[in-house]
Amino acid sequence: MATGGADQGTGGSAPLIRFEAVSKRFGAVAAVETLTLDIAQGEFFALLGPSGCGKTTLLRMLAGFETPSEGRIFLGGEDIVPVPPHRRPVNMMFQSYALFPHLTVEGNIVFGLRQENIGREEIAARVAEMLDLTRLQGFGGRKIHQLSGGQRQRVALARSLIKRPRVLLLDEPLAALDKKLRAETQFELMELQRKLGTTFVIVTHDQEEAMIVADRIAVMNQGRLMQVATPTEIYEQPNSRWVADFIGEVTIIEGRTTAPGAVDSALGPLAVADSAIGPGKRLWLALRPEKISMSGHRPAGEKNAVAGTIFEIGYRGETSAYKVRLADGSLMKVSVVNVNARGRAPYAEGDAVWLSWPPDAGIVLTG
């Protein structure tokens, strides 16, 4: 089981970025609380959490726009807290893009390069390369207000990447895009990151996005780290009820261990795969909706089977989300792929059904 708070899995080599016991207070409010985190070179790292969890503050401290109240931040082994933003090898893509309205597309992209001592040919070469990479060829002379949302986003990306930073920070970069464009851009970002090998740190409140793009995710809540792990680990092996509930859909059942592999709950005796916990301990079982099978009759041989009536069906095209009311009054969430042609639903609201799952499908949580 993964634990939160300490860093996880940078793979042996020294981390590129290290937050060491960093705190940030705004007046009496602590936005970030004694946080320690490592990010590896070449990672696509996501900071995920609800509004106000401190993820944006953390990002801005890395960029240099906020100074930690306590703690240190290391980049490549060097303490960067005393370094002002314009001298950090870190570049940021702003949520509002922050494109300069009085400059053209090319003027915006070249802006950062002009601050360094780079020769004209080199600049021209990099600009051409960047316009290619972000598919903005031919747009160089346009003014910002003439561009669509997606095009502006690419200009903002080009402007940051052309400086070849060690770290690229992305502050909710896809929030303003529509769903289809967002999906395409997520893919493009991943490709770009792979091609360039630059460390990307993205802040997002969209879980799906974090899971798609990131190599590892840090889930934050109220200024603290809840869990830092790969997307699969976070989804399949959350370390707490909070994380299990925050990510995806879940049904949580409270119970008490009776014997190794056996748990007593409001739904009756249940079988779990984890036998490491001693008897008489209180625990919670987290069940993901896609791991539960639904049938019209009691399945034979299943140790975990409960009866219920369908309370609500939420049709989502690819899947349907069923809410089933069980004997003790609680609701269980089940997700079923709509395999039937023409969307013929196998069940309707009010039907009596049996829900079952294998012992190892349930995630055992002690906190």
Binding site: R87, M92, F94, A98, G112, Q115
Partner: protein, 306 residues
């Protein structure tokens, strides 16, 4: 239903027509009259110019009227160096004042824009308040300070910077002080308005891309404040060219600004045609800056409506 739409249309027309007619009658039409008077000749009569347009005399009256118009007044302006010098001096004073206003006004406006958000309305009020307490009074206050036995000389003598009272009044220096003092709000407020609109994230982006603070100011803040600079400059330059009160009360007798010349021609010499010619020439001189200002205003209006 039909009534409602009709009355709506009628109402809309009234809304536009009322100010339109007022301005057409009391602002636009008078200029035509000034033009006509500038083409007339001075005469000892009431009104003190000829010819007088008599519509009752019909077509013949119109022809005699047209025949009597002359460009004499304009000829006088072109030939007598007094007028040319006045125009030149006015442009010079206006240009220098505008530069001084910019140099003093920009830091003030910039400081206001960077103040804590809660303080800004109060700062705006503080800058505007003197402007609302009477222009004449404030010029008068400067007379108090600048006169021979006034406060400035008193302070300077006590500090032993000078031995005898200097003549601050009746000089170009006094004029510049008066101009800068009176027109400062006209420069500061448009500047502040455009500076305040600049999104902070643009400066963060500049910093992120490698600009130290001064460079971010020069490459991002200043260019984006240019509309405010243009508005402030025009709102100062154009009226200062025609200023009367400040040079009259604070200036010396060596040279006159064109506003004073016009005043004297009208009130002292009772030469209405020449005064009108001065006004027309002044209008012609200022036409380009005025049109520029109109364009600026329209553009900001459109930008706002978008």
């Amino acid at each position: 239903m039909r009534d409602e739409r009709n009355s709506g249309g009628w109402g809309r027309r009234v809304i536009v027509l009322v100010p339109y007619l007022w301005l057409a009658i009391f602002f636009l039409a008078p200029f035509v009259i000034v033009l006509k008077i500038s083409l007339s000749q001075s005469v000892l009569a009431q009104p003190p110019y000829t010819p007088v347009l008599d519509l009752t005399a019909g077509w013949q009256g119109l022809k005699t009227f047209a025949a009597q118009l002359s460009l004499d007044s304009f000829g006088l302006l072109a030939s007598d160096s007094l007028y040319l010098l006045s125009y030149f001096k006015s442009l010079q004073v206006a240009a220098v004042s505008t530069v001084l206003l910019f140099a003093l006004g920009y830091p003030i406006a910039y400081g206001m824009a960077r103040a804590p958000k809660a303080w800004q309305p109060m700062l705006v009020l503080a800058v505007v308040l003197p402007f609302w307490t009477s222009f004449l009074i404030r010029i008068y206050a400067w007379i108090n300070i600048l006169q021979r036995d006034g406060l400035l000389n008193d302070v300077l003598m006590r500090l032993h910077i000078i031995d005898t009272p200097a003549a601050w009044l009746s000089s170009d220096t006094a004029i510049y002080i008066g101009m800068v003092y009176s027109y400062l709000p006209f420069m500061v407020l448009p500047l502040y308005a455009s500076l305040e609109k600049i999104d902070e994230s643009l400066l963060e982006a500049a910093s992120d891309l490698g600009c130290p603070a001064w460079k971010a100011f020069w490459l991002v803040t200043f260019p984006l404040s240019l509309p405010g600079v243009a508005a402030g400059a025009l709102l100062s330059f154009i009226p200062i060219v025609g200023e009367f009160v400040i040079p009259d009360l604070l200036g010396g007798s060596e040279s006159q600004m064109i506003g004073q010349t016009l005043w004297i021609e009208f009130f002292s010499n009772r030469d209405w045609p020449v005064a009108s010619a001065i006004a027309i020439a002044l209008l012609g001189l200022l036409l380009v800056p005025i049109l520029f200002y109109e364009r600026l205003q329209l553009r900001s209006l459109e930008g706002g409506r978008a």
